[in-house]
């Protein structure tokens, strides 16, 4: 019927409407992940393949970054501690900093850049070239095969990478401490483990699981919802990194508040 239609009139404003629609769509994507993740058949083979891609192939970059972070942080902290004659606290200081915050954060940020962008670009490109549609018409569940496998892989691989980063960073720190303070490896690690508590390790692992989930689900969401065309693929890759990094910082802040509340309760 001719006339003025109110159907396309924004509820609040176009931008705010779009924000809330995007939020609802993201929540329903996460909800679908949990619905599909616990429903058989489970794609173990693809999860293993993705874990290899995400974990093993990230090792060189993670190793280099972790090692350098360990050395740099030790060298930067030394002058301040020297002023108080407290250089013997270096192993304890480094271990707390690395295990509580720097290990998970550095690993997650590198993974967001390396893994998140590649997931966003890969799924985005599959969407644009109708490969996801091809799965669907062959009665294959693309969400389960692409999204669940990648998100599960990042969720479980990031904590492993974080533990590895912690170790490499501490080794970097040891080299610096050993060269300047002549501390042996065993003494260094005794001091490291004395300084960290079960809560530090536990919260670090839980935090890493959340970071891993965030990187996977954001990459998949952005790729799965990329608009048509090659420009959309680039945008999906870029948005995956930006959004994942933003959420990781927010999560880091929340975890800090929660863990401190537990620690000082």
């Amino acid at each position: 019927m001719p006339g003025i239609s109110n159907e396309n009139k924004p509820l609040i404003s176009k931008k705010i409407d779009r924000f809330f629609i995007g939020l609802a769509s993201a929540f329903s994507f996460v909800k679908r992940f949990f619905q599909e993740a616990f429903k058989p058949p489970f794609e173990f083979r693809e999860i293993m393949r993705q874990s290899y891609e995400i974990g093993y192939r990230s090792l060189p970059l993670i190793s280099l970054t972790g090692f350098i972070v360990g050395i740099v942080f030790t060298n930067q902290s030394r002058p301040s501690l020297t002023e108080f004659g407290a250089t013997s606290w270096l192993p304890a200081l480094i271990s707390i900093a690395v295990v509580r915050a720097m290990g998970p954060l550095v690993t997650a940020l590198i993974a967001a850049g390396k893994v998140g962008s590649s997931i966003g670009a890969e799924i985005g490109s599959m969407k644009v070239t109708e490969q996801i549609d091809a799965m669907e018409v062959s009665a294959i569940n693309p969400f389960k095969y692409l999204v669940v496998t990648r998100t599960v892989a990042t969720t479980f691989m990031i904590p492993i990478l974080v533990m590895y980063t912690d170790f490499v960073a501490l080794m970097g720190s040891f080299l610096s401490v050993n060269a300047n303070e002549l501390v042996s490896l065993s003494t260094f690690f005794v001091q490291v483990f004395e300084a960290i508590s079960f809560l530090d390790l536990f919260s670090s692992i839980i935090k890493s699981l959340v970071f891993g989930f965030t990187i996977g689900i954001v990459g998949c969401y952005k790729g799965y919802n990329s608009s048509k065309g090659t420009e959309g693929v680039g945008k999906a890759a870029n948005a995956s990194v930006v959004m994942a990094m933003f959420l990781i910082f927010i999560e880091e802040l929340l975890f800090l508040q929660i863990v401190n509340a537990i620690r000082y309760a």
Partner: protein, 253 residues
């Protein structure tokens, strides 16, 4: 080619689909008979691809009924619909081959996902048979990026045939191909019907392809079929000027 007593494998009634203000399909009725090749013609953006995408559930209709192999798709659960999907082969306009997999893996992927308990020997045999059927036995270990446009189309068809579909849907099978390769693809479409006993809907705006592959034509204009019949019936006696001009543009008089 068909009479009313022939079995209808697809029956579409009153199909409507709009994208915001763009009314693409406005009450489409369509019958596909067992064993026939029906060509849906129309200019770009007329809703031809939308029609077959609705049939396989990639898009949902706003209104209307679709009955495929005697089952109304609206009332089916996802599990039931997936069972029905296995009987429908969909050949994509740009082939949609999985670019991280070899040709063989592209074929094996839908097969092993849907049919359990196949031995490696049975799988290899099936793959070899289909690659032979599409004339590309040598490409088994190639990556999609190493194939030409025509070869990709052939592998795309082989991938859909691996599940023994009863209905084939071809979305612009000759788009972007040179005339010789177009001819090869047209032959392949006819050969698939004969060799695999399929009924097909071919979406195209290429009248050469339509004439070579179709038993019946249906011209989609303004969201509805304006002319349905054999090639001669549609174009020789076309009363609608736009149907006539469609012919004139393809075969310059």
């Amino acid at each position: 080619m068909h009479n009313e007593e022939n079995e209808k494998v697809v029956k579409i009634r009153g199909l409507k689909k709009s994208f915001d203000e763009n009314h693409v399909l406005m009450g489409v009725d369509l019958d596909l008979y067992k064993g026939e090749n029906l060509v849906v013609l129309g200019k770009s953006g007329s809703g031809k691809s939308v029609l077959i995408k609705i049939m396989v559930g990639l898009l949902t209709q706003d209104e209307g009924d679709i009955e495929i192999l005697g089952k109304n798709t609206a009332g089916l659960s996802l599990k039931e619909f997936n069972k029905l999907r296995l009987k429908i082969g969909f050949s994509f306009q740009h082939s949609a081959l999985y670019d991280s997999m070899t040709v063989k893996e592209n074929l094996v992927f839908p097969l092993t996902r849907n049919i359990k308990g196949l031995t490696r020997k049975e799988i290899d045999k099936k793959v070899d048979e289909l690659l032979d059927a599409v004339g590309l036995p040598q490409s088994v270990n190639q990556m999609p990026s190493e194939l030409s446009g025509g070869q990709k189309k052939r592998i795309g068809v082989a991938r859909t045939l691996i599940l023994n579909p009863e209905i084939m849907l071809y979305d612009e099978p000759t788009a972007g191909l040179d005339p010789i390769t177009c001819g090869d693809i047209n032959k392949l479409i006819t050969q698939v019907r004969e060799q695999f006993n399929t009924s097909s809907i071919v979406i195209t705006h290429d009248l050469t392809c339509a004439k070579a592959t179709g038993d019946r034509m249906a011209v989609l204009l303004d969201g509805q079929f304006k002319a349905v019949g054999t090639f001669e019936e549609v174009f020789n006696n076309a009363s609608d000027q736009r149907v006539k001009s469609f012919y004139d543009y393809n075969f310059i008089k």
